[in-house]
Protein backbone atom coordinates (compact mmCIF):
# COMPACT_ATOMS: atom_id res chain seq x y z
CA UNK A 1 0.00 0.00 0.00
CA UNK A 2 2.31 2.69 -1.23
CA UNK A 3 -0.32 5.44 -1.21
CA UNK A 4 -1.51 4.58 2.25
CA UNK A 5 1.94 4.68 3.87
CA UNK A 6 2.80 7.81 1.93
CA UNK A 7 -0.35 9.46 3.19
CA UNK A 8 0.47 8.32 6.68
CA UNK A 9 3.95 9.83 6.47
CA UNK A 10 2.51 13.07 5.10
CA UNK A 11 0.03 13.16 7.94
CA UNK A 12 2.80 12.78 10.50
CA UNK A 13 4.82 15.48 8.75
CA UNK A 14 1.99 18.00 8.74
CA UNK A 15 0.68 17.12 12.18
CA UNK A 16 -0.25 20.25 14.10
CA UNK A 17 0.10 22.55 11.11
CA UNK A 18 -2.64 24.34 9.25
CA UNK A 19 -2.79 21.78 6.47
CA UNK A 20 -3.30 18.83 8.79
CA UNK A 21 -7.11 18.59 8.34
CA UNK A 22 -6.75 18.40 4.58
CA UNK A 23 -4.43 15.39 4.72
CA UNK A 24 -6.49 13.77 7.44
CA UNK A 25 -9.56 14.12 5.22
CA UNK A 26 -7.94 12.48 2.21
CA UNK A 27 -6.78 9.68 4.45
CA UNK A 28 -10.18 9.18 6.04
CA UNK A 29 -11.90 9.35 2.70
CA UNK A 30 -9.75 6.68 1.05
CA UNK A 31 -8.96 4.38 3.97
CA UNK A 32 -10.22 3.50 7.40
CA UNK A 33 -8.73 6.00 9.85
CA UNK A 34 -6.18 4.45 12.18
CA UNK A 35 -6.77 6.81 15.08
CA UNK A 36 -8.28 5.32 18.23
CA UNK A 37 -10.64 7.13 20.54
CA UNK A 38 -8.73 8.00 23.68
CA UNK A 39 -11.37 8.80 26.26
CA UNK A 40 -15.08 8.74 26.93
CA UNK A 41 -17.50 5.98 26.12
CA UNK A 42 -16.44 3.64 23.36
CA UNK A 43 -19.44 2.67 21.30
CA UNK A 44 -18.67 0.11 18.66
CA UNK A 45 -20.75 0.86 15.59
CA UNK A 46 -19.74 0.81 11.98
CA UNK A 47 -22.27 3.32 10.71
CA UNK A 48 -20.21 6.48 10.95
CA UNK A 49 -20.90 9.53 8.83
CA UNK A 50 -18.79 8.21 5.97
CA UNK A 51 -20.70 4.96 5.74
CA UNK A 52 -24.06 6.75 5.95
CA UNK A 53 -23.08 9.05 3.12
CA UNK A 54 -21.76 6.19 0.99
CA UNK A 55 -25.01 4.28 1.44
CA UNK A 56 -27.02 7.21 0.10
CA UNK A 57 -24.64 7.55 -2.83
CA UNK A 58 -25.10 3.86 -3.60
CA UNK A 59 -28.85 4.40 -3.61
CA UNK A 60 -28.36 7.26 -6.06
CA UNK A 61 -26.15 5.40 -8.54
CA UNK A 62 -29.01 3.68 -10.45
CA UNK A 63 -30.70 7.05 -10.95
CA UNK A 64 -27.42 8.55 -12.16
CA UNK A 65 -26.76 5.80 -14.71
CA UNK A 66 -30.33 5.79 -15.92
CA UNK A 67 -30.19 9.60 -16.14
CA UNK A 68 -27.20 9.40 -18.46
CA UNK A 69 -28.91 6.97 -20.81
CA UNK A 70 -32.09 9.04 -20.67
CA UNK A 71 -30.22 12.26 -21.45
CA UNK A 72 -28.83 10.68 -24.59
CA UNK A 73 -32.14 9.09 -25.50
CA UNK A 74 -34.07 12.34 -25.19
CA UNK A 75 -31.41 14.13 -27.19
CA UNK A 76 -31.58 11.62 -30.02
CA UNK A 77 -35.38 11.57 -29.99
CA UNK A 78 -35.45 15.35 -30.25
CA UNK A 79 -33.03 15.22 -33.18
CA UNK A 80 -35.18 12.61 -34.85
CA UNK A 81 -32.33 10.09 -34.88
CA UNK A 82 -34.35 7.59 -32.87
CA UNK A 83 -37.71 6.96 -34.43
CA UNK A 84 -38.90 3.90 -32.53
CA UNK A 85 -40.04 4.88 -29.09
CA UNK A 86 -38.56 2.79 -26.32
CA UNK A 87 -41.35 0.57 -25.09
CA UNK A 88 -41.14 0.03 -21.36
CA UNK A 89 -38.06 -0.11 -19.21
CA UNK A 90 -36.10 -2.56 -21.33
CA UNK A 91 -36.76 -0.83 -24.65
CA UNK A 92 -34.06 -1.70 -27.19
CA UNK A 93 -33.62 1.85 -28.44
CA UNK A 94 -32.98 3.10 -24.90
CA UNK A 95 -29.99 1.15 -23.60
CA UNK A 96 -27.59 1.94 -26.42
CA UNK A 97 -23.96 3.05 -26.35
CA UNK A 98 -24.86 6.14 -28.36
CA UNK A 99 -27.23 7.29 -25.65
CA UNK A 100 -24.70 6.59 -22.92
CA UNK A 101 -21.95 8.52 -24.69
CA UNK A 102 -24.07 11.67 -24.95
CA UNK A 103 -25.14 11.24 -21.34
CA UNK A 104 -21.59 10.77 -20.06
CA UNK A 105 -20.39 13.73 -22.09
CA UNK A 106 -22.98 16.02 -20.50
CA UNK A 107 -23.38 14.60 -17.00
CA UNK A 108 -19.81 13.82 -15.95
CA UNK A 109 -18.65 17.47 -16.13
CA UNK A 110 -21.55 18.44 -13.88
CA UNK A 111 -20.56 15.78 -11.34
CA UNK A 112 -16.90 16.79 -11.46
CA UNK A 113 -17.62 20.51 -11.03
CA UNK A 114 -20.07 19.86 -8.24
CA UNK A 115 -17.63 17.70 -6.28
CA UNK A 116 -14.56 19.74 -7.13
CA UNK A 117 -15.95 23.11 -6.05
CA UNK A 118 -17.89 21.79 -3.08
CA UNK A 119 -15.05 19.76 -1.60
CA UNK A 120 -12.61 22.63 -2.21
CA UNK A 121 -14.78 24.85 -0.04
CA UNK A 122 -15.11 22.18 2.63
CA UNK A 123 -11.32 21.84 2.70
CA UNK A 124 -10.86 25.60 2.81
CA UNK A 125 -13.19 25.99 5.77
CA UNK A 126 -11.63 23.05 7.56
CA UNK A 127 -8.20 24.63 7.21
CA UNK A 128 -9.39 28.11 8.27
CA UNK A 129 -11.48 26.92 11.18
CA UNK A 130 -9.00 24.20 12.14
CA UNK A 131 -11.43 21.34 12.31
CA UNK A 132 -11.50 18.03 10.49
CA UNK A 133 -13.11 17.95 7.06
CA UNK A 134 -16.64 16.66 7.35
CA UNK A 135 -18.07 14.19 4.89
CA UNK A 136 -21.31 16.14 4.58
CA UNK A 137 -20.69 17.20 1.02
CA UNK A 138 -20.40 13.68 -0.37
CA UNK A 139 -24.15 13.29 -0.80
CA UNK A 140 -24.85 16.91 -1.71
CA UNK A 141 -22.24 16.72 -4.43
CA UNK A 142 -24.02 13.76 -6.00
CA UNK A 143 -27.52 15.20 -5.57
CA UNK A 144 -26.73 18.50 -7.24
CA UNK A 145 -25.96 17.18 -10.76
CA UNK A 146 -29.07 15.00 -10.57
CA UNK A 147 -31.50 17.87 -9.95
CA UNK A 148 -30.30 20.47 -12.44
CA UNK A 149 -31.17 20.70 -16.15
CA UNK A 150 -28.68 18.95 -18.37
CA UNK A 151 -27.43 22.04 -20.16
CA UNK A 152 -26.70 24.09 -17.03
CA UNK A 153 -23.46 26.01 -17.74
CA UNK A 154 -20.66 24.76 -15.53
CA UNK A 155 -19.70 28.18 -14.18
CA UNK A 156 -23.29 28.75 -13.02
CA UNK A 157 -23.20 25.44 -11.21
CA UNK A 158 -19.89 26.42 -9.60
CA UNK A 159 -21.25 29.79 -8.43
CA UNK A 160 -24.34 28.11 -7.05
CA UNK A 161 -22.31 25.46 -5.24
CA UNK A 162 -20.16 28.16 -3.62
CA UNK A 163 -23.29 29.98 -2.51
CA UNK A 164 -25.08 26.86 -1.33
CA UNK A 165 -22.19 25.47 0.68
CA UNK A 166 -21.11 28.78 2.24
CA UNK A 167 -24.48 30.43 2.89
CA UNK A 168 -26.50 27.25 3.22
CA UNK A 169 -24.12 25.33 5.44
CA UNK A 170 -20.83 26.81 6.56
CA UNK A 171 -22.24 30.01 8.09
CA UNK A 172 -24.35 27.87 10.39
CA UNK A 173 -21.32 25.89 11.53
CA UNK A 174 -20.88 23.19 8.90
CA UNK A 175 -22.28 19.71 8.43
CA UNK A 176 -25.01 18.85 10.87
CA UNK A 177 -25.78 22.45 11.82
CA UNK A 178 -27.48 23.63 8.64
CA UNK A 179 -31.13 24.63 8.60
CA UNK A 180 -31.71 24.20 4.88
CA UNK A 181 -30.81 21.24 2.70
CA UNK A 182 -27.62 22.38 0.89
CA UNK A 183 -28.46 20.62 -2.39
CA UNK A 184 -31.82 22.35 -2.55
CA UNK A 185 -30.26 25.66 -1.53
CA UNK A 186 -27.98 25.30 -4.55
CA UNK A 187 -30.90 24.50 -6.82
CA UNK A 188 -33.03 27.33 -5.43
CA UNK A 189 -30.16 29.75 -5.99
CA UNK A 190 -29.86 28.64 -9.62
CA UNK A 191 -33.60 28.84 -10.01
CA UNK A 192 -33.92 32.43 -8.82
CA UNK A 193 -30.61 33.70 -10.20
CA UNK A 194 -30.77 32.25 -13.72
CA UNK A 195 -34.44 31.46 -14.36
CA UNK A 196 -34.04 31.19 -18.12
CA UNK A 197 -31.67 28.25 -17.65
CA UNK A 198 -33.74 26.55 -14.98
CA UNK A 199 -37.32 26.55 -16.21
CA UNK A 200 -39.35 26.61 -19.37
CA UNK A 201 -39.66 24.03 -22.09
CA UNK A 202 -36.22 24.33 -23.67
CA UNK A 203 -33.78 23.41 -20.92
CA UNK A 204 -34.55 19.78 -20.18
CA UNK A 205 -33.11 18.12 -23.27
CA UNK A 206 -29.49 18.60 -24.30
CA UNK A 207 -29.18 21.12 -27.10
CA UNK A 208 -32.81 22.23 -27.14
CA UNK A 209 -31.94 25.89 -26.58
CA UNK A 210 -29.56 25.99 -29.52
CA UNK A 211 -32.04 24.21 -31.76
CA UNK A 212 -34.74 26.71 -30.79
CA UNK A 213 -32.35 29.54 -31.69
CA UNK A 214 -31.58 27.92 -35.03
CA UNK A 215 -35.26 27.57 -35.81
CA UNK A 216 -35.83 31.18 -34.83
CA UNK A 217 -33.01 32.14 -37.19
CA UNK A 218 -34.84 30.48 -40.03
CA UNK A 219 -32.76 27.31 -40.35
CA UNK A 220 -34.59 24.18 -41.31
CA UNK A 221 -33.97 22.02 -38.26
CA UNK A 222 -36.26 19.14 -37.62
CA UNK A 223 -36.80 19.11 -33.89
CA UNK A 224 -39.44 18.77 -31.24
CA UNK A 225 -39.03 20.73 -28.05
CA UNK A 226 -38.16 18.92 -24.86
CA UNK A 227 -41.01 20.06 -22.73
CA UNK A 228 -41.57 18.29 -19.43
CA UNK A 229 -44.95 16.80 -18.63
CA UNK A 230 -45.36 19.21 -15.73
CA UNK A 231 -44.66 22.22 -17.90
CA UNK A 232 -47.10 21.03 -20.50
CA UNK A 233 -49.83 20.33 -17.95
CA UNK A 234 -49.38 23.79 -16.47
CA UNK A 235 -50.28 25.18 -19.88
CA UNK A 236 -53.29 22.89 -20.27
CA UNK A 237 -51.62 20.92 -23.05
CA UNK A 238 -52.08 17.43 -21.66
CA UNK A 239 -49.40 14.83 -21.04
CA UNK A 240 -47.74 14.97 -24.49
CA UNK A 241 -48.61 11.43 -25.40
CA UNK A 242 -46.74 9.76 -22.55
CA UNK A 243 -48.58 7.02 -20.71
CA UNK A 244 -48.11 6.23 -17.05
CA UNK A 245 -45.61 3.48 -17.81
CA UNK A 246 -43.30 6.03 -19.42
CA UNK A 247 -43.68 8.25 -16.37
CA UNK A 248 -43.06 5.39 -13.96
CA UNK A 249 -39.95 4.11 -15.70
CA UNK A 250 -38.79 7.64 -16.39
CA UNK A 251 -38.40 7.69 -20.16
CA UNK A 252 -39.47 11.35 -20.19
CA UNK A 253 -37.66 14.71 -20.29
CA UNK A 254 -36.65 16.19 -16.97
CA UNK A 255 -33.70 16.80 -14.64
CA UNK A 256 -31.03 14.13 -14.90
CA UNK A 257 -31.87 11.98 -11.91
CA UNK A 258 -35.49 12.69 -11.17
CA UNK A 259 -37.38 11.06 -14.01
CA UNK A 260 -37.36 7.37 -13.14
CA UNK A 261 -39.78 6.80 -10.29
CA UNK A 262 -39.03 3.08 -10.59
CA UNK A 263 -35.32 3.46 -9.76
CA UNK A 264 -36.05 6.04 -7.10
CA UNK A 265 -38.35 3.49 -5.50
CA UNK A 266 -35.54 0.94 -5.52
CA UNK A 267 -33.27 3.54 -3.93
CA UNK A 268 -35.95 4.25 -1.33
CA UNK A 269 -36.28 0.57 -0.41
CA UNK A 270 -32.51 0.33 -0.12
CA UNK A 271 -32.38 3.38 2.17
CA UNK A 272 -35.20 2.05 4.34
CA UNK A 273 -33.57 -1.38 4.49
CA UNK A 274 -30.26 0.19 5.51
CA UNK A 275 -32.15 2.26 8.12
CA UNK A 276 -30.77 5.50 6.73
CA UNK A 277 -33.81 7.09 5.15
CA UNK A 278 -36.89 7.57 7.31
CA UNK A 279 -39.83 5.56 5.98
CA UNK A 280 -42.13 7.74 8.07
CA UNK A 281 -41.20 10.83 6.08
CA UNK A 282 -41.42 9.07 2.72
CA UNK A 283 -44.77 7.45 3.46
CA UNK A 284 -46.40 10.51 5.02
CA UNK A 285 -45.19 12.71 2.22
CA UNK A 286 -46.75 10.39 -0.36
CA UNK A 287 -49.98 10.46 1.66
CA UNK A 288 -49.85 14.25 1.76
CA UNK A 289 -49.42 14.45 -2.00
CA UNK A 290 -52.25 11.99 -2.62
CA UNK A 291 -54.59 13.92 -0.29
CA UNK A 292 -53.87 17.19 -2.05
CA UNK A 293 -54.26 15.49 -5.45
CA UNK A 294 -57.60 14.01 -4.38
CA UNK A 295 -58.81 17.41 -3.17
CA UNK A 296 -57.97 18.94 -6.54
CA UNK A 297 -59.60 16.07 -8.42
CA UNK A 298 -62.67 16.55 -6.23
CA UNK A 299 -62.76 20.25 -7.03
CA UNK A 300 -62.66 19.45 -10.74
CA UNK A 301 -65.27 16.71 -10.66
CA UNK A 302 -67.66 18.87 -8.63
CA UNK A 303 -67.49 21.38 -11.46
CA UNK A 304 -66.00 24.37 -9.66
CA UNK A 305 -63.11 24.52 -12.09
CA UNK A 306 -63.88 24.42 -15.79
CA UNK A 307 -61.61 23.77 -18.71
CA UNK A 308 -61.17 27.48 -19.28
CA UNK A 309 -59.36 27.84 -15.96
CA UNK A 310 -55.59 28.00 -16.08
CA UNK A 311 -55.42 25.50 -13.22
CA UNK A 312 -57.49 22.91 -15.07
CA UNK A 313 -54.61 20.98 -16.61
CA UNK A 314 -52.81 20.23 -13.36
CA UNK A 315 -55.92 19.99 -11.20
CA UNK A 316 -57.55 17.38 -13.37
CA UNK A 317 -54.38 15.26 -13.49
CA UNK A 318 -55.21 11.94 -11.89
CA UNK A 319 -54.09 12.24 -8.27
CA UNK A 320 -51.60 9.39 -8.34
CA UNK A 321 -49.92 10.68 -11.49
CA UNK A 322 -48.55 13.50 -9.37
CA UNK A 323 -46.25 10.98 -7.72
CA UNK A 324 -44.78 9.98 -11.06
CA UNK A 325 -44.17 13.28 -12.79
CA UNK A 326 -41.72 16.01 -11.90
CA UNK A 327 -39.21 15.77 -9.10
CA UNK A 328 -41.65 14.79 -6.39
CA UNK A 329 -40.44 11.21 -5.93
CA UNK A 330 -36.77 12.18 -6.00
CA UNK A 331 -37.21 15.05 -3.56
CA UNK A 332 -39.26 12.98 -1.15
CA UNK A 333 -36.88 10.04 -1.04
CA UNK A 334 -33.49 11.71 -1.16
CA UNK A 335 -33.98 15.23 0.13
CA UNK A 336 -36.93 15.44 2.47
CA UNK A 337 -35.36 12.60 4.46
CA UNK A 338 -32.06 14.43 5.03
CA UNK A 339 -31.57 13.65 8.74
CA UNK A 340 -30.08 17.07 9.51
CA UNK A 341 -32.83 19.27 8.15
CA UNK A 342 -35.89 17.07 8.69
CA UNK A 343 -37.81 16.71 11.93
CA UNK A 344 -36.14 14.50 14.52
CA UNK A 345 -39.08 13.16 16.50
CA UNK A 346 -41.21 10.34 15.11
CA UNK A 347 -44.49 12.21 15.40
CA UNK A 348 -42.75 15.26 13.97
CA UNK A 349 -41.63 13.24 10.96
CA UNK A 350 -45.22 12.32 10.14
CA UNK A 351 -46.32 15.95 10.26
CA UNK A 352 -43.25 17.17 8.40
CA UNK A 353 -43.57 14.58 5.63
CA UNK A 354 -47.29 15.09 5.20
CA UNK A 355 -46.86 18.84 4.81
CA UNK A 356 -44.00 18.40 2.33
CA UNK A 357 -46.24 16.30 0.08
CA UNK A 358 -49.30 18.47 0.58
CA UNK A 359 -47.52 21.76 -0.12
CA UNK A 360 -45.53 20.35 -3.08
CA UNK A 361 -48.68 19.56 -5.02
CA UNK A 362 -50.32 22.81 -3.94
CA UNK A 363 -47.43 24.92 -5.24
CA UNK A 364 -47.25 22.80 -8.37
CA UNK A 365 -50.89 23.47 -9.21
CA UNK A 366 -51.39 27.04 -8.08
CA UNK A 367 -48.15 28.56 -9.29
CA UNK A 368 -47.35 27.56 -12.87
CA UNK A 369 -44.25 29.77 -12.64
CA UNK A 370 -42.79 27.34 -10.12
CA UNK A 371 -43.83 23.95 -11.49
CA UNK A 372 -41.24 22.24 -9.32
CA UNK A 373 -43.09 22.74 -6.05
CA UNK A 374 -41.26 20.01 -4.21
CA UNK A 375 -38.07 22.08 -3.97
CA UNK A 376 -39.85 25.02 -2.38
CA UNK A 377 -42.01 22.77 -0.20
CA UNK A 378 -39.00 20.97 1.27
CA UNK A 379 -37.12 24.21 1.86
CA UNK A 380 -40.17 25.68 3.58
CA UNK A 381 -40.64 22.65 5.79
CA UNK A 382 -36.89 22.59 6.59
CA UNK A 383 -37.45 25.98 8.21
CA UNK A 384 -40.42 24.69 10.19
CA UNK A 385 -38.92 21.34 11.21
CA UNK A 386 -37.44 22.60 14.52
CA UNK A 387 -40.76 24.25 15.39
CA UNK A 388 -42.64 21.01 14.75
CA UNK A 389 -40.16 19.13 16.93
CA UNK A 390 -40.48 21.71 19.69
CA UNK A 391 -44.25 21.30 19.92
CA UNK A 392 -44.05 17.51 19.71
CA UNK A 393 -41.62 17.47 22.61
CA UNK A 394 -43.69 19.99 24.60
CA UNK A 395 -46.82 17.94 23.97
CA UNK A 396 -45.07 14.87 25.29
CA UNK A 397 -43.88 16.75 28.37
CA UNK A 398 -47.42 17.95 29.08
CA UNK A 399 -48.87 14.47 28.68
CA UNK A 400 -46.37 13.05 31.13
CA UNK A 401 -46.93 15.87 33.62
CA UNK A 402 -50.62 15.12 33.57
CA UNK A 403 -49.95 11.45 34.13
CA UNK A 404 -47.65 12.30 36.99
CA UNK A 405 -50.27 14.53 38.60
CA UNK A 406 -52.97 11.89 38.24
CA UNK A 407 -50.67 9.40 39.90
CA UNK A 408 -49.64 11.57 42.82
CA UNK A 409 -53.02 13.13 43.48
Amino acid sequence: MGLKSNLHNLKEKYKGTKMAPAFNAIHTFLYLPNEITHNGTHIKAADDLKRTMNTVIMALIPCLIFGMYNAGYQHHIALGEITTKANGFLGASFWTIDNLVVGLWKVLPLVIVSYGVGLAIEFLFAVIKKHEVEEGYLVTGMLVPLIVPIDTPLWMLAVAVVFGVVIGKEVFGGTGMNILNPALTIRAFLFFAYPTWMSGDKVWVHGAVERANQIAAGENVDAISGETILGSLAQNNGVLGYDWMDMFFGIIPGSIGETSTFLILIGALFLIFAKIGSWRIMLSSVIGALVMGLIFNGVVSSGWITESSKFYGLMSTEFWHHLLIGGFAFGTVFMATDPVTASQTNKGKWIYGFLVGFISIMIRVFNPAYPEGVMLAILLMNVFAPTIDHYVVQGNVKKRMKRLKAKTA
Partner: protein, 214 residues
Protein backbone atom coordinates in the same frame (compact mmCIF):
# COMPACT_ATOMS: atom_id res chain seq x y z
CA UNK B 1 -7.76 65.98 12.77
CA UNK B 2 -6.91 69.53 13.55
CA UNK B 3 -10.43 70.76 13.02
CA UNK B 4 -12.10 68.49 15.53
CA UNK B 5 -11.04 67.48 19.00
CA UNK B 6 -10.38 63.80 19.58
CA UNK B 7 -13.71 63.33 21.29
CA UNK B 8 -15.57 65.00 18.44
CA UNK B 9 -13.88 63.09 15.68
CA UNK B 10 -14.80 59.89 17.49
CA UNK B 11 -18.45 60.89 16.97
CA UNK B 12 -17.99 60.70 13.23
CA UNK B 13 -15.58 57.80 12.96
CA UNK B 14 -17.22 55.40 15.38
CA UNK B 15 -20.46 54.88 13.42
CA UNK B 16 -18.47 54.27 10.26
CA UNK B 17 -17.10 50.97 11.51
CA UNK B 18 -17.14 49.79 15.09
CA UNK B 19 -20.55 51.16 15.98
CA UNK B 20 -22.16 51.05 12.55
CA UNK B 21 -25.93 51.61 12.71
CA UNK B 22 -26.67 48.82 10.23
CA UNK B 23 -24.08 46.14 10.86
CA UNK B 24 -23.67 46.55 14.62
CA UNK B 25 -26.88 48.10 15.91
CA UNK B 26 -28.94 46.44 13.15
CA UNK B 27 -31.18 49.47 12.62
CA UNK B 28 -32.63 50.82 9.39
CA UNK B 29 -32.59 47.39 7.75
CA UNK B 30 -35.89 47.83 5.85
CA UNK B 31 -34.62 50.57 3.60
CA UNK B 32 -31.29 48.81 3.18
CA UNK B 33 -33.16 45.83 1.77
CA UNK B 34 -35.70 47.69 -0.29
CA UNK B 35 -33.86 50.28 -2.33
CA UNK B 36 -30.36 48.89 -2.81
CA UNK B 37 -30.98 47.09 -6.10
CA UNK B 38 -29.50 50.16 -7.83
CA UNK B 39 -26.44 52.10 -6.77
CA UNK B 40 -27.99 55.47 -7.69
CA UNK B 41 -30.98 54.90 -5.45
CA UNK B 42 -28.66 53.87 -2.60
CA UNK B 43 -26.63 57.06 -2.96
CA UNK B 44 -29.68 59.33 -3.09
CA UNK B 45 -31.16 57.54 -0.10
CA UNK B 46 -27.90 58.00 1.81
CA UNK B 47 -27.81 61.73 1.01
CA UNK B 48 -31.45 62.12 2.05
CA UNK B 49 -30.79 60.44 5.37
CA UNK B 50 -27.62 62.51 5.79
CA UNK B 51 -29.65 65.70 5.41
CA UNK B 52 -32.52 64.61 7.62
CA UNK B 53 -30.35 63.23 10.38
CA UNK B 54 -27.80 66.06 10.37
CA UNK B 55 -30.34 68.89 10.40
CA UNK B 56 -32.80 67.00 12.59
CA UNK B 57 -30.22 66.32 15.26
CA UNK B 58 -29.30 70.03 15.37
CA UNK B 59 -32.93 71.15 15.64
CA UNK B 60 -33.74 68.67 18.39
CA UNK B 61 -30.56 69.62 20.21
CA UNK B 62 -31.43 73.33 20.01
CA UNK B 63 -34.90 72.88 21.42
CA UNK B 64 -34.05 70.02 23.77
CA UNK B 65 -34.49 72.12 26.90
CA UNK B 66 -37.95 73.40 26.00
CA UNK B 67 -39.51 70.08 24.87
CA UNK B 68 -41.75 68.70 27.60
CA UNK B 69 -40.47 65.15 28.04
CA UNK B 70 -43.98 63.68 27.90
CA UNK B 71 -44.57 64.75 24.31
CA UNK B 72 -41.00 64.57 23.05
CA UNK B 73 -41.71 61.71 20.63
CA UNK B 74 -44.41 63.76 18.92
CA UNK B 75 -42.10 66.76 18.64
CA UNK B 76 -39.39 64.56 17.18
CA UNK B 77 -41.81 63.11 14.66
CA UNK B 78 -42.88 66.57 13.55
CA UNK B 79 -39.27 67.59 13.00
CA UNK B 80 -38.48 64.46 10.96
CA UNK B 81 -41.70 64.70 9.01
CA UNK B 82 -41.00 68.32 8.05
CA UNK B 83 -37.48 67.46 6.90
CA UNK B 84 -38.59 64.39 4.98
CA UNK B 85 -41.25 66.38 3.15
CA UNK B 86 -38.55 68.86 2.11
CA UNK B 87 -36.42 66.01 0.76
CA UNK B 88 -39.38 64.43 -0.98
CA UNK B 89 -40.41 67.65 -2.71
CA UNK B 90 -36.84 68.43 -3.76
CA UNK B 91 -36.50 64.96 -5.27
CA UNK B 92 -39.83 65.27 -7.08
CA UNK B 93 -38.81 68.64 -8.48
CA UNK B 94 -35.28 67.80 -9.62
CA UNK B 95 -35.11 64.02 -9.96
CA UNK B 96 -38.59 62.83 -10.75
CA UNK B 97 -37.64 59.43 -12.21
CA UNK B 98 -35.51 58.64 -9.21
CA UNK B 99 -38.18 59.67 -6.76
CA UNK B 100 -40.48 57.20 -8.47
CA UNK B 101 -37.91 54.43 -7.92
CA UNK B 102 -37.54 55.33 -4.28
CA UNK B 103 -41.33 55.77 -4.07
CA UNK B 104 -42.62 55.27 -0.58
CA UNK B 105 -39.20 54.74 0.98
CA UNK B 106 -38.42 58.45 1.08
CA UNK B 107 -41.54 58.94 3.15
CA UNK B 108 -40.56 56.01 5.28
CA UNK B 109 -37.36 57.76 6.37
CA UNK B 110 -39.67 59.07 9.09
CA UNK B 111 -39.85 55.63 10.60
CA UNK B 112 -36.17 54.83 10.06
CA UNK B 113 -35.07 53.59 13.45
CA UNK B 114 -31.67 55.22 13.14
CA UNK B 115 -33.15 58.71 13.12
CA UNK B 116 -35.44 58.37 16.12
CA UNK B 117 -32.66 56.43 17.83
CA UNK B 118 -30.12 59.22 17.44
CA UNK B 119 -32.66 61.88 18.53
CA UNK B 120 -33.47 59.95 21.66
CA UNK B 121 -30.01 58.70 22.49
CA UNK B 122 -27.87 61.67 21.56
CA UNK B 123 -29.51 64.93 20.49
CA UNK B 124 -31.68 65.19 23.61
CA UNK B 125 -28.59 65.27 25.80
CA UNK B 126 -25.93 67.08 23.83
CA UNK B 127 -25.20 70.46 22.29
CA UNK B 128 -25.94 71.34 18.65
CA UNK B 129 -22.36 71.01 17.31
CA UNK B 130 -21.78 67.59 18.80
CA UNK B 131 -25.28 66.52 17.79
CA UNK B 132 -24.56 67.60 14.24
CA UNK B 133 -21.37 65.55 14.15
CA UNK B 134 -23.16 62.55 15.61
CA UNK B 135 -25.94 62.92 13.05
CA UNK B 136 -23.72 63.04 10.01
CA UNK B 137 -21.47 60.33 11.46
CA UNK B 138 -24.36 57.91 11.76
CA UNK B 139 -25.75 58.88 8.38
CA UNK B 140 -22.34 58.19 6.85
CA UNK B 141 -22.20 54.83 8.56
CA UNK B 142 -25.65 54.03 7.16
CA UNK B 143 -24.71 55.33 3.72
CA UNK B 144 -21.47 53.37 3.49
CA UNK B 145 -23.29 50.09 3.95
CA UNK B 146 -26.07 51.10 1.57
CA UNK B 147 -23.56 52.02 -1.11
CA UNK B 148 -21.55 48.81 -0.69
CA UNK B 149 -24.71 46.71 -0.94
CA UNK B 150 -26.01 48.78 -3.85
CA UNK B 151 -22.68 48.47 -5.66
CA UNK B 152 -22.62 44.68 -5.56
CA UNK B 153 -26.31 44.23 -6.24
CA UNK B 154 -26.33 46.47 -9.30
CA UNK B 155 -23.02 45.16 -10.64
CA UNK B 156 -23.90 41.48 -10.30
CA UNK B 157 -27.64 41.80 -10.80
CA UNK B 158 -27.82 44.13 -13.79
CA UNK B 159 -24.21 44.35 -14.95
CA UNK B 160 -24.29 48.14 -14.67
CA UNK B 161 -23.16 50.84 -12.24
CA UNK B 162 -25.19 54.04 -11.94
CA UNK B 163 -26.94 52.85 -15.09
CA UNK B 164 -23.75 52.58 -17.19
CA UNK B 165 -23.03 49.12 -18.61
CA UNK B 166 -19.83 47.81 -17.04
CA UNK B 167 -19.76 44.19 -18.04
CA UNK B 168 -20.93 44.60 -21.63
CA UNK B 169 -24.30 44.38 -23.32
CA UNK B 170 -26.40 41.33 -22.42
CA UNK B 171 -28.50 41.54 -25.59
CA UNK B 172 -25.72 42.23 -28.10
CA UNK B 173 -23.51 39.72 -26.24
CA UNK B 174 -20.46 41.93 -25.87
CA UNK B 175 -17.88 42.10 -23.07
CA UNK B 176 -18.25 39.38 -20.46
CA UNK B 177 -21.54 38.26 -21.96
CA UNK B 178 -19.72 37.01 -25.04
CA UNK B 179 -18.20 34.29 -22.83
CA UNK B 180 -21.59 33.11 -21.66
CA UNK B 181 -21.79 35.23 -18.50
CA UNK B 182 -25.30 36.07 -17.32
CA UNK B 183 -26.69 38.51 -14.82
CA UNK B 184 -27.66 37.03 -11.49
CA UNK B 185 -31.38 37.72 -11.15
CA UNK B 186 -31.33 36.69 -7.51
CA UNK B 187 -29.25 39.80 -6.74
CA UNK B 188 -32.22 42.00 -7.64
CA UNK B 189 -34.49 40.32 -5.10
CA UNK B 190 -34.61 41.56 -1.53
CA UNK B 191 -33.40 38.32 0.13
CA UNK B 192 -30.04 38.81 -1.54
CA UNK B 193 -29.71 42.26 0.08
CA UNK B 194 -30.15 40.59 3.44
CA UNK B 195 -27.49 38.04 2.55
CA UNK B 196 -25.07 40.74 1.35
CA UNK B 197 -25.59 42.69 4.59
CA UNK B 198 -25.02 39.44 6.45
CA UNK B 199 -21.77 38.85 4.58
CA UNK B 200 -20.59 42.37 5.46
CA UNK B 201 -21.39 41.68 9.11
CA UNK B 202 -19.51 38.37 8.88
CA UNK B 203 -16.39 39.98 7.38
CA UNK B 204 -16.47 42.87 9.85
CA UNK B 205 -16.78 40.66 12.91
CA UNK B 206 -14.14 38.23 11.84
CA UNK B 207 -11.75 41.19 11.39
CA UNK B 208 -12.62 42.64 14.80
CA UNK B 209 -13.31 39.90 17.32
CA UNK B 210 -14.34 42.44 19.98
CA UNK B 211 -17.62 42.98 18.14
CA UNK B 212 -18.80 39.40 18.56
CA UNK B 213 -21.53 39.11 21.17
CA UNK B 214 -21.52 36.34 23.77
Amino acid sequence: MGLLSKKDSKLILDPLADNNPITIQVLGICSALAITAELEASIVMSISVLFVLGVGNVIISLIRNIIPSKIRIIVQLIVVAALVIIVDLVLKAFAYELSKTLSVFVGLIITNCIIMGRFEAFALGNGPWRSFLDGIGNAFGYGVILIIVGFFRELLGSGTLLGFPILGDPIEKTGLYAFGYENNGFMLLSPMALIVVGLIIWVQRSKNKALIED
